[in-house]
């Protein structure tokens, strides 16, 4: 007579190691899918038809509709930075350097990174939600049945628009941030205007500006790539759309920060 064998009960350590192993495999698998998706994006980006109207529409959504939030963030970041730097520098009597320190911080780091985070939160999440809801309601399938590639129609215009919008938004952040810093520095903290501007011109170089703009370009690409990737990965209805949107924001922000480190370590050597 056969008896049913009892399920094997693994030790706590065995279960923990299995769980970690499973997560590692899933992460590698996910990265593989993302590399594959990136390849498809490049493949379809260089093939006609080039839908200029769709790209311009995305430019409007990502660029124009982000102006207010980027401008406000830039202004207040510049103003807060001016205060913080001033009270530190005052202790060693170099408060005239507030302008260049704020400008350099904004140009090299804060403007591209904060703009990247803002766009990841605003546009990256919207991309994942839009494509995700199209996926669960079979709109992406409808495109495929019509002979239109979903990646080419939905992802490529968003990625192109975000990649080229981000440097512009970064410049706006930088410009408004410096205006905010200038007003706080010269009107509230009473730094001499001529001194502020002359030190700014002395320490700030175009290479500092380029560093931020180049970073913003790559951040735009990665934020849109992740937003669209998680949009196409959506399954299981409304719950899946929420999950995909959440992942797009989280991973978009993580990638911006990680990429920032690598870009900085590279750009400081060449610029």
């Amino acid at each position: 007579m056969e008896t049913a064998s009892a399920p094997v009960k693994h030790s706590w350590l065995h279960r923990r190691i299995s769980k970690i192993g499973k997560q590692v495999i899933e992460t590698i698998d996910g990265l593989g899918h993302m590399v594959n998706f990136t390849g498809r994006v490049f493949y379809w980006a260089i093939r006609p038809p080039w839908r200029l109207k769709l790209i311009l529409h995305q430019f409007y959504f990502i660029g124009n509709k982000s102006l207010l939030i980027v401008g406000l963030s830039g202004a207040f970041t510049g103003m807060v930075m001016a205060y913080q730097v001033y009270f530190g520098f005052q202790l060693i009597s170099v408060d005239s350097l507030v302008g260049p320190v704020v400008a350099l911080s904004l140009a090299k780091e804060l403007a591209p990174v904060l703009t990247g985070l803002i766009v990841a939160g605003r546009a990256g999440s919207a991309m994942a939600a839009q494509i995700g809801s199209m996926k669960v309601t079979e709109q992406v399938d409808a495109l495929e049945v019509m002979g239109i590639n979903g990646v080419q129609y939905l992802a490529v215009p968003r990625i192109i628009a975000t990649t080229f919008c981000m440097p512009m938004l970064c410049c706006l952040f930088l410009f408004i941030g410096n205006i905010g810093s200038y007003f706080v520095g010269t009107k509230a903290l009473m730094i001499d205007e001529a001194m502020y501007l002359s030190k700014l011109g002395e320490f700030m170089h175009m290479s500092d500006f380029y560093q931020g703009v180049i970073k913003a370009f790559f951040f735009g690409f990665i934020v849109a790539l992740i937003g669209t990737y998680f949009g196409f990965g959506v399954t299981k209805g409304a719950e899946g759309v929420g999950k995909g949107t959440n992942q797009a924001v989280v991973w978009g922000m993580i990638f911006v920060l990680v990429l920032d480190y690598f870009l900085t370590s590279f750009l400081v050597k060449i610029l």
């Binding site: 038809p49 809801s133 199209m134 309601t137 079979e138 709109q139 399938d141 409808a142 495929e144 049945v145 019509m146 002979g147 239109i148 590639n149």
Partner: protein
């Protein structure tokens, strides 16, 4: 035996496996031109997989699918994409683009694939919408502002925009009330009649046995990846196949 020149879709020895699990099992099946054919089957029988093979969205593990005489397994991705313009598809929930109005949904395929002027596109889309009984007042409404039945009709107008040779209907009446169900079924029959002169074939994937028997010329029953019964609709109702009888009497 169907005359080969009158075959719209010919599925030859098609097997499809996913991770060792066989979904379509050496399937042989021909669909004649100018007819309405319904494929019935329990959930998981392989209906959607078969539909994707007919559309060329999936390729078989072995065997081939010929559509309008063209073996889809021999086409590359770009050719397959172009070939898919022979199909029109009405999705279960219409799958209208929710950011576009009714008329924009119908002009969409025309804008993508034809050289018509804006006026010509609008006129063609308007004619299509009127032909499926959508009044002009609804042309500029978003899908969210339309009823389920209206969405289906707009979806059908969009599917017909490029004058397809094969119309596919995926569960066209699932989840609809009896009146809308009748309206959709009448629309399928009318659409087929209107387009019969250019050799259009309609393939329906459905669970709705009663409607199927009323509107179809032929009915096929798919079970575990194989066609177990394939008969003209009146004979299908009298089939002695146990599975078919079980399905009909559910």
């Amino acid at each position: 035996m169907i005359d080969p020149s009158q075959i719209a879709v010919d599925v030859k020895n098609v097997t499809k496996t996913f991770d060792g699990h066989t979904v379509l099992n050496n399937l042989n099946f021909s669909i004649p031109k100018n007819k309405i054919i319904t494929i019935l089957g329990f959930s998981g029988a392989g209906k959607s997989t078969l539909l994707k093979h007919i559309l060329g969205l999936m390729l078989p593990t072995s065997g081939c699918v010929e559509v309008l005489g063209q073996d889809l397994t021999l086409l590359d991705k770009v050719q397959l994409r172009e070939f898919r313009r022979n199909f029109g598809m009405l999705f279960q929930y219409a799958a209208l683009f929710d950011s576009m109005t009714a008329i924009q949904n119908v002009t969409f395929p025309l804008r993508e694939f034809t050289d018509l002027s804006e006026d010509q596109m609008y006129q063609k889309a308007a004619d299509l919408l009127i032909s499926v009984d959508i009044q002009e007042v609804a042309f500029n409404k978003l899908p969210s502002e339309l009823s389920g039945g209206m969405r289906k009709r707009v979806g059908l107008a969009r599917a017909l925009a490029l004058s397809p040779h094969i119309m596919l209907y995926d569960e066209p009446t699932t989840g609809l009330d009896p009146i809308t169900t009748k309206m959709v079924n009448d629309l399928i029959v009318e659409t087929q009649k209107k387009n019969i002169s250019r050799g259009m074939t309609s393939i329906i994937i459905s669970h709705d046995v009663r409607a199927t028997l009323q509107i179809s010329d032929f009915v096929a029953f798919l079970d575990r990846g194989n066609i177990v019964e394939y008969l003209p609709a009146p004979e299908f109702a009298k089939s002695k196949n146990e599975l078919v009888q079980e399905f009909i009497n559910l």
